[in-house]
């Protein structure tokens, strides 16, 4: 069993996936293509990367409130993240996650940028309020 880190639950559910780190905030309206799940904003740190089935770690959402509906579209198109971790959630992503059945947590007891890196396998259990690091030594070279 891996390390469990406590966090606050925003959107309830349980999911597992490989971490994708973004230090930039995300505006789902405009930054992400709802058909493919690929980040299309050229200025964005994740430009060209797919967020499909990943555990997306980013500080918080930004931009238009329509971003909530874009998360719903991503989910219906099967290209949504499997879960999301924020530093501090705000309403756009919180609402989007809930209507799309995507588990969302924030305020991890340990800074996610300290303990997580790209491709690490984690489990998000926002029913019970923790993030579990499954394969701590996994690294993709």
């Amino acid at each position: 069993m891996g390390t469990k880190i406590k966090c606050r639950s925003i959107s309830r559910g349980v999911a597992q996936g490989r971490v994708l780190i973004s230090h930039d905030a995300i505006s789902f309206l405009g930054n992400v293509d709802p058909k493919t799940g690929i980040v299309v904003e050229q200025e964005h740190e994740l430009y060209g990367t797919s967020i499909k089935d990943r555990v997306l770690v980013f500080p918080h959402g930004k931009g238009s409130t329509v971003g909530s509906y874009v998360l719903y579209q991503l989910s219906k198109n099967g290209v949504a993240p499997s879960a999301m971790i924020n530093i501090e959630s705000e309403p756009i992503v919180a609402v989007g996650a809930i209507i799309s059945n995507i588990p969302l947590v924030d305020r991890m007891e340990i800074d996610p940028y300290e303990v997580l890196e790209d491709n690490v396998m984690v489990k998000i259990d926002s029913q019970n309020g923790y993030v579990e690091i499954i394969d701590e030594c996994y690294k993709l070279d």
């Binding site: 606050r8 925003i10 959107s11 309830r12 709802p34 409130t65 329509v66 909530s68 509906y69 874009v70 719903y72 579209q73 219906k76 959630s89 705000e90 309403p91 756009i92 919180a94 609402v95 809930i98 209507i99």
Partner: protein, 397 residues
């Protein structure tokens, strides 16, 4: 956040998936903003209506929901007049999508009236201290400031969730401590009519999301307060303001001048009227648009008086709610006899039809803020009389 047994059951899914999601949204927002509980609301006004704004993403979500709203619920302005969309120059494809959105809301029991001034409509009038979940920024400002009701600025899904549950989370402007002024603004010159829209346009940029307390030389009326609040909610993010001796909270609480007090000069107000947008010195105004926010009965009467017996030479939109238009056919007739168009359910800010024009003239500080960015049409500002004069130009009247 404390939930009642009944609310816990809804959250557990016993009342179906739509209500489970709805209460989950309310609880999540309550947690984010530190609410202690859910409180009952009197009505809801739901954003996320114009197809131009929410697109297919929003349409899909609303169409998938099931259930009925528990309190009187109404919609923000749509992207077109729901009856006369063709006359507005709206494409069939857009109109069909827009109608689908309206139908999806109707299925949920939402009244399919689209307006930014619900407070003029039956079932949506408010009393001091009423709690509501309203969305449209000028309606939120009017409800909080002019009527002394209490609402946060809800997003589309949160307002719809509040409507379905009949409650909202108790935070922000629902609480006394967040309603006190945090900055004061003093105006030493006399103001009238659209001067208040110009004032709001300037003040919003400085105030941001704070709660301003105005000290004015005059006592503004309802339509003037509406214009002031709408402009501040657009150029800034003001959801509540007070006017010393005028608005209900200010009369009751007798707030004093704040440590941070700014003075707005007459010359700054003048600048808003005089400003010619970049690259439009040679461009003629090709549309004059009133009704941002939607016209009251008094505003319709005023425009009807000014247009009586005249013919407009340019496209003129007079935007209002269908219910107010239907209540005052005598004003509507006079306005339409002049060649102007009484537009219902929508406005110059949210309708893609605005994009067909080159230069718009408005008497609204809110439209002045939004039309250039949201419709990519430059805008000039004038009094209601200036706007009518521009509309009649060339007729020799």
């Amino acid at each position: 956040m404390h939930l009642t047994k009944e609310e816990e059951r809804t959250l557990g899914g016993e009342d179906g998936e739509t209500l489970q999601k709805a209460i989950e949204i309310l609880v999540a927002l309550g947690d984010i903003y530190g609410a202690d509980r859910l409180i009952p609301i009197k009505s809801a006004q739901i954003a996320g209506v114009s197809y131009k704004t929410i697109g297919d993403a929003g349409l899909e979500w609303i169409s998938d929901l099931e259930g009925k709203v528990k309190v009187p619920s109404i919609l923000n302005p749509a992207g077109m007049d729901l009856q006369l969309w063709d006359e507005m120059g709206i494409s069939l494809q857009f109109a069909q999508k827009q109608q689908k959105i309206i139908k999806a809301y109707e299925k949920l029991g939402v009244t399919s009236k689209c307006t930014c001034t619900p407070y003029y409509l039956d079932n949506f009038t408010l009393k001091y201290g009423d709690h509501v979940a309203w969305s449209e920024s000028s309606a939120v400002s009017y409800a909080n400031s002019v009527l002394g009701a209490r609402t946060n600025r809800e997003g589309g899904p949160s307002a719809l969730s509040a409507a379905l549950i009949g409650k909202t989370a108790n935070f922000g402007y629902h609480l006394d401590e967040n309603r006190e002024p945090t900055i004061s603004i003093t105006i030493e010159c006399d103001l009238t009519g659209s001067d208040y829209a110009a004032l709001g346009y300037i003040a919003g940029k400085t105030v941001g999301s704070r709660v301003p307390l105005f000290f004015l030389q005059n006592e503004p009326e309802g339509d003037e307060l509406k214009a002031l609040g709408a402009a501040m909610a657009a150029s800034g993010a003001v959801a509540l303001y007070h006017v010393d001796g005028v608005t209900p909270d200010a009369r009751k609480m007798k707030y004093g001048i704040n440590n941070e007090n700014i003075i707005i000069e007459e010359s700054q107000i003048r600048e808003v009227y005089d400003k010619i947008p970049d690259n439009t010195a040679q461009t003629d105004v090709d549309i004059v648009a009133f009704g941002c926010p939607h016209c009251s009965a008094d505003e319709l009467a005023h425009i009807a008086r000014l247009l009586d017996g005249k013919q407009v030479e340019k496209d003129v939109w007079v935007c209002t709610s269908r219910e107010v238009a239907e209540r005052y056919p005598q004003f509507v007739d006079k306005i339409e006899k002049s060649g102007a168009f009484v537009v219902c359910d929508t406005c110059m800010v949210v309708s893609p039809a605005s994009e067909n024009y080159k230069l718009m003239m408005v008497n609204s500080g809110k439209a002045l803020s939004y039309v250039p960015s949201m419709c990519k049409v430059p805008a000039r500002f004038g009094t209601i009389e200036d706007c009518i004069k521009e509309a009649l130009k060339g007729t020799g009247t």
